[in-house]
């Protein structure tokens, strides 16, 4: 749609050109399917389009069935650009950035939204440079449009604070943290359009050789529920009950730094200041004392449950629910109670 002339402030005031504007959301697919975090990014992008009175276009790269693309309409994508090019079968950020940038220019997008996934983290900065755009990665709220300013809040200091960032460039890129906004239905009937940008071979210099994905486990960064354990478990052989509890809940498993440092669990499970930061709906910490560096990575969890035999453990100070008790007694009871609840 054509927007009226408006005065916006970018240090000094000037009249913004009249042009079609839109919001573009990059929708990452895994084996032809979209994950919840993608629907969340679409919901978020739709809300920005509503804020600014513009339309939402999604861009998907890879072999995705039309029925799956249609799903994006549920969350408000009015138009979907589908790029199905065998050269782009695997994610290569350099080439994908060129494609998303071309789509952004074609759609005259002034806001580009991505999910702040591992791939999104490698992609968003390259798009930002191509478009001379400011980027907020790890956004946790809708932008505030305040007197011509475009303000986005993100986690900073590893969860110990939030930083409100003003994007002062004409084009803005936002990478949304998983579980920060939620999935919001806003059904439209999307128009699907094939999009075939030229791919430069120099953009495909990184070659994907192998993808290994554990399909039986919930991935930690975008998990809604997380069961985490620490040194209180005494050894890697005792993780059976943690995995059983996580399995019953459909939760991902995580651990504290000493546990991954001791190789009891893989580094990819380490949450905390120097591991990964997560913000699930529920974080259950078992046998973790709650050092400041650990809390930094999990403090934005919506609900925190702490199970620790030490009533003085600092973790209880930031917990919503707590059980003072020995993990080896409490966890089996919790598993039993959960089975009874689910029965």
């Amino acid at each position: 749609m054509i927007r009226p002339k408006e005065v916006i402030s970018t240090g000094w005031n000037y009249i913004k050109e009249e042009r079609n504007m839109s919001v573009l959301v990059y929708v990452e697919q895994v084996d032809g399917k979209f994950k919840k975090s993608v629907f969340e990014a679409v919901s978020y992008a739709k809300a920005i389009a509503a804020q600014t009175g513009t339309n939402l276009t999604a861009i998907a790269i890879g072999d995705v069935a039309e029925s799956e693309l249609q799903e994006l309409g549920k969350y408000g994508a009015e138009k979907i650009l589908s790029v199905n090019n065998t050269e782009l079968k695997n994610f290569v950020n350099q080439a994908y950035a060129a494609v998303v940038t071309e789509a952004a220019q074609k759609e005259a997008a002034d806001v580009i939204v991505l999910s702040n996934s591992f791939s999104g983290k490698g992609l968003a900065p390259r798009i930002a440079v191509k478009l001379k755009a400011g980027l907020v990665d790890g956004a946790i709220e809708l932008p505030k449009l305040d007197g011509g300013k475009f303000l986005v809040k993100k986690n900073a200091f590893s969860g110990k604070a939030f930083a409100v960032t003003e994007l002062t460039s004409d084009i803005k890129v936002i990478a949304l943290n998983p579980n920060a906004f939620g999935v919001k239905e806003n059904s439209v009937s999307p128009a699907i359009e094939a999009f075939s940008p030229a791919v430069q071979s120099t953009d495909l210099a990184a070659i994907v050789k192998e993808i290994v994905r554990a399909t039986d486990k919930v991935s930690l960064p975008d998990a809604e529920l997380v069961v985490s354990a620490g040194r209180g478990l005494k050894g890697p052989e005792n993780w059976g009950m943690i995995e059983e509890l996580a399995g019953l809940l459909g939760a991902a498993t995580a651990c504290s730094k000493p546990v991954s440092d001791a190789d009891w669990r893989p580094h990819s499970e380490h949450v905390g200041q120097t591991g990964i930061a997560i913000s699930p709906n529920l974080y259950i910490a078992i046998g973790i004392s709650g050092a400041i560096q650990h809390l930094a990575g999990v403090s934005s969890s919506k609900v925190i449950v702490v199970i620790n035999k030490d009533p003085e453990a600092p973790f209880f100070k930031v917990a919503d629910y707590g059980i003072v008790g020995d993990a080896f007694e409490v966890v089996p009871k919790l598993i039993e109670a959960l089975k009874a609840h689910q029965a």
Binding site: V30, N93, Q94, F118, S119, G122, A124, P125, R126, A128, V129, K132, G134, L135, D137, G138, K149, K153, K154, A156, F157, S158, A161, F162, A163, V164, T165, E166, S169, A205, A206, I207, V208, K209, E210, I211, R213, V218, D222, L225, L249, H267, Q273, T274, G275, L282, I292, Q293, V303, F316, A319, D320, Y321, I323, V324, G325, V330, K333, A337, H341
Partner: protein, 245 residues
């Protein structure tokens, strides 16, 4: 082989984070600054790759003179020389641009950064450098092998890993697992004082983003304690009160 490692000067991980000037500035009073822990991993990997005279490691920091002690720490760990681009690293775009402009003047085979800095938690600089220099960038890597021409890299993806190969120049951001962080020894600390540290002036680039204010998280309410033998109540509360299961 020449490797460039970009380091950030960040508050120590135990720092209590507070702000001044109406919550617009990080309060540095009494704060210990360190080499960003992920950058230390990147540096340790670079040193490992260059061991036995296979190459040299340059560390680079975008910062003002106050960051020199952090740069000296990186030299003590084992970098051969250092560059400081004399500017406040106001945002990732600015910082990546400065690094890329410097990298154009020297022929680096590999540029490494940490996966993110523990202050602003951006994951932006490595991929932005890659884009400015129009070379591949791999973000959040867990393993790196390099045979002198081709790098084999394991990068993290949701629920797994991806193996990528790159021939020619590249940028990568390092996560835990890439290398064991090296601890400086006495000889390293002594030699760090005399290793070259070159100061370069920053170049102008239009601003695209700026932090305008900080907020601290609202404190949580008091913890609700449940008796150790009453797991059923906890499940009940999570279901009916917290509504998370």
């Amino acid at each position: 082989m020449k490797i460039l490692v970009c380091i950030s000067n960040v508050p120590d991980t135990t720092t209590k984070i507070t702000f001044t000037n109406d919550n617009t500035q990080f309060n540095t009073a009494g704060v210990q600054f360190i080499v960003n822990p992920y950058d230390e991993i990147a540096l340790s990997k670079a040193i490992e790759l260059c061991e036995g005279g296979k190459g040299t490691v340059t560390v680079l920091n975008v910062g003002e003179a106050a960051t020199d002690p952090t740069i000296r720490k990186a030299l003590a760990i084992g970098a051969d020389d250092a560059v400081r681009i004399n500017a406040v690293p106001r945002d990732a775009y600015f910082t990546a641009y400065q690094i890329a402009e410097y990298a154009r003047t020297a022929d680096f085979d590999i540029i490494l950064t940490g996966r993110e800095s523990i202050d602003y938690n951006g994951n932006q600089v490595a991929a932005m450098i890659g884009e400015f220099l129009e070379i591949p960038s791999i973000s959040i890597i867990k393993k790196l092998e390099y045979d002198g021409t081709t790098a084999t890299i394991e990068r993290e993806i949701e629920g797994g890993k991806e193996i990528v190969t790159v021939s020619g120049k590249f940028v990568a951001s390092c996560a835990e697992g890439v290398a064991e962080p090296k601890i400086p020894n006495m000889r390293g600390i002594m030699s760090a004082r005399t290793k070259p540290l070159t100061v370069v002036e920053a170049k102008d680039i239009a601003e695209v983003a700026k932090v305008v204010s900080f907020e601290t998280p609202a404190p949580r309410g008091a913890v609700k304690l449940i008796p150790a033998d009453d797991a059923t109540s906890l499940i009940g509360l999570l279901h009916t009160e917290a509504k998370v299961i």
